[in-house]
């Protein structure tokens, strides 16, 4: 075994020059395709000085519509969501099935990632402190979108003969449209979504993550892994292989256990750093509010800040993309509404809590010491903001970032798999082929330059918002009816609590 591993290393080392050529040819091949797809998906309409990508507008209008249609479920449903997660309504007879808490934790692990640490820094750099305000607003509205898509994910899922479940937008698009007499259209939308989530899973759910993990590792070790991307990639691919093909669940379970603690650890230290910059807090908060409406120094002014904030929020909490609905479909409940309720906590945790905290770390640091980050942007900027107060923090931060990347990869490997099985059936051999492709892309992410490839995957993930949200509009009346029915039964006492009565 050891000899085999050494032999593989030697072969790969000798191939390194070839990789460099490979990298170039991939880039030249994909760049024109990427820019064409990107230009199409992120088609921007200029409003005053700002550039508004249509797809962002599409998502925002959807989120506002669902917020009104569901009667502000994102506000009044909050308390009920907490009760569900606590298990107040869990029938002890069903113990051992997936709990609401578990579905929530898994979905949150999939969304909490680099975006919460690095993406916010990008938002603040480009959109100014005011972008934070719009980021929070987008998180708040996104709660309604999540509610609708996760309810539908459970309602229209497939139960496989072996007792496992498959669900998500491809299923509700197909079945939902077919229920309304548009069978052909539903089939087309389902297939379109499945292809999009499959390719997206290889890009932002995979290569982007492994690439960022490698970059951080290399930064924190002072360039120790320069040119060794293939080695880091190979190790990461091997670990992912062990989890998703080798069935070594313990690795995944350990990560899934560590990630929530890491998120808590991150928030606690972030709050400490904010408090250490205590005198800057009022100014930082006032910058967020004034920036939101004046957009001082931002291209496109307040509108520019708004666009950036909304765009980053969607990147981070995935509301409207439909991915979380795949994870939530696994819960065996008779009440699809309960999963929707629980899922509205995800944008809250991801965007309103964690992203806001990151924004305040950066905001207070820049009030206390403008230019603290030098030229750094993204995750390096957040890292610099922490470093200003706690000099050793970049190391655990890089470690946390790697774990976030890993858990995101595991979650997305499943989302992509569900797209794949929707297209090619549930046969085991097909699933193994998909998983091998997935592992290969983990390694690829550390070797090639991401630019054009990431652009394609980015664009596709946003492109699947189009059929998804369209489906949500069509199916919203069904969700609304279920919601009214469910709340009536809660109020009449037909659905009762088992705990904390």
């Amino acid at each position: 075994m050891l000899r085999f591993i050494i032999a593989t290393f030697v072969v790969l080392l000798s191939l390194q020059p070839a990789f460099a050529g490979f990298d170039d040819s991939i880039n030249t091949l994909t760049a024109p395709i990427a820019s064409a797809i990107g230009a199409f998906v992120f088609f921007k309409i200029p409003i005053f000085d700002a550039q508004l990508p249509l797809v962002v507008l599409w998502l925002v209008i959807g989120a506002i519509f669902f917020t009104f249609k569901m009667g502000f479920v994102n506000i009044w449903g909050f308390k009920h969501a907490i009760e569900l997660v606590r298990g107040d309504y869990a029938n002890p007879k069903d113990s051992g099935e997936v709990s609401h808490f578990q579905a929530l934790a898994t979905a949150v692990s999939g969304t909490v990632g680099i975006g919460n640490i690095g993406g916010v820094a990008v938002a603040v750099t480009v959109g100014g402190p005011g972008a934070t305000f719009w980021l929070i607003m987008a998180g708040f509205l996104g709660m309604s979108t999540k509610f609708v898509e996760c309810t539908l994910g459970v309602k229209y899922r497939n139960e496989n003969p072996d007792g496992s479940v498959s669900g998500g937008p491809m299923y509700y698009l197909r079945k939902g449209f077919s229920d309304r007499g548009m069978e052909g259209f539903g089939k087309f939308m389902g297939t379109f979504y499945a292809i999009g989530i499959f390719i997206g899973a290889l890009g932002i759910g995979n290569m982007f993550q492994s690439n960022q993990a490698y970059v951080q590792l290399n930064n924190v070790t002072g360039g120790l892994f320069d040119g060794l991307g293939w080695l880091v990639g190979l190790v990461m691919a091997a670990v992912v292989f062990m989890v998703i093909i080798g069935g070594i669940k313990s690795i995944a379970r350990v990560t899934e256990k560590i990630v929530p603690f890491m998120a808590a650890f991150y928030c606690i230290f972030a709050i400490i750093v904010i408090l250490m910059n205590g005198s800057a807090i009022p100014q930082a908060i006032s910058n967020i509010f004034t920036g939101a409406f004046t957009g001082e120094g931002v291209a496109g002014g307040a509108l520019g800040a708004l666009i950036i904030g909304f765009q980053r929020a969607v990147f981070s909490n995935e509301a409207g993309i439909g991915s979380a609905s795949i994870a939530h479909a696994a819960v065996r409940t008779n009440e699809p509404i309960t999963e929707g309720m629980v899922s509205l906590l995800e944008p809250f945790i991801d965007t309103i809590v964690i992203c806001t905290i990151t924004a305040l770390v950066i905001g207070t640091a820049s009030v206390a010491n403008p230019g603290f980050a030098g030229d750094a942007t993204g995750i390096a900027m957040t890292s610099a903001a922490f470093e200003g107060q706690i000099s050793w923090f970049p190391i655990p931060l890089a470690f946390a970032g790697m774990l976030f990347a890993f858990s995101t990869m595991i979650s997305w490997s499943y989302y992509g798999l569900k797209g794949w099985t929707y297209l090619f059936g549930e046969a085991q051999i097909g699933q193994t082929i998909y998983k091998l492709i997935f592992c290969f892309f983990v390694m690829l992410g550390c070797i090639v330059q991401l630019g054009p490839i990431l652009d394609i995957s980015d664009a596709l993930v946003f492109l699947i918002c189009v059929p998804n949200i369209l489906g949500l509009y069509f199916l919203a009346p069904i969700v609304k009816r279920e919601l009214n029915d469910y709340m009536a039964r809660i109020n009449s006492g037909e659905i009762k609590k088992y705990k904390n009565v």
Partner: protein, 143 residues
């Protein structure tokens, strides 16, 4: 009719507890409820893959518990001519046993002791120990 809950898990300790319960039930004209708890927390973390397969796994776990734990124990009770029922649930072992006893209006819970080392108890706790702390009914710990 008086009802005794017996915690069974197929171990030697649980067999001794069962024997004790059979003896006392025969003498005092009681029915037995054989309870098996599969350790499980609703607040643990899983991958999406595991969530999708959870229902299937749960069915398998219940089936295994019925076949390899409850049904052999049941045979012993039947031979002794005592009425019995069985129950298998997922959950925290001590809390779930206490809840079963309360819901079923049982008079006593019988539980075996593993006799693990002090260090082991310190690290992992013991089901019998926790049950004594929280049980709403009397507990008989059989060594």
């Amino acid at each position: 009719m008086v009802k005794y809950v017996v915690a069974v898990d197929g171990s030697d300790g649980s067999d001794r507890a069962l024997q004790k319960a059979i003896d006392l039930a025969a003498a005092g004209k009681a029915d037995l409820l054989l309870a098996h708890v599969i350790e499980w927390s609703a607040f643990s973390f899983h991958t999406p893959d595991e969530l999708a397969e959870r229902h299937k796994r749960r069915e398998e776990e219940l089936e295994r518990a019925r076949e390899s734990v409850l049904s052999p124990s049941g045979k012993k009770v039947k031979v002794a001519g005592i009425n019995y029922e069985t129950i298998v649930l997922h959950g925290h072992p001590a809390e779930t046993l206490a809840k079963i006893a309360k819901d079923e209006n049982a008079e006593n819970i019988f539980i075996g002791r593993k006799g693990q080392s002090k260090m082991g108890t310190l690290l992992f706790g013991s089901v019998a120990g926790s049950l004594i702390q929280i049980s709403p009914v009397s507990v008989t710990v059989v060594p």
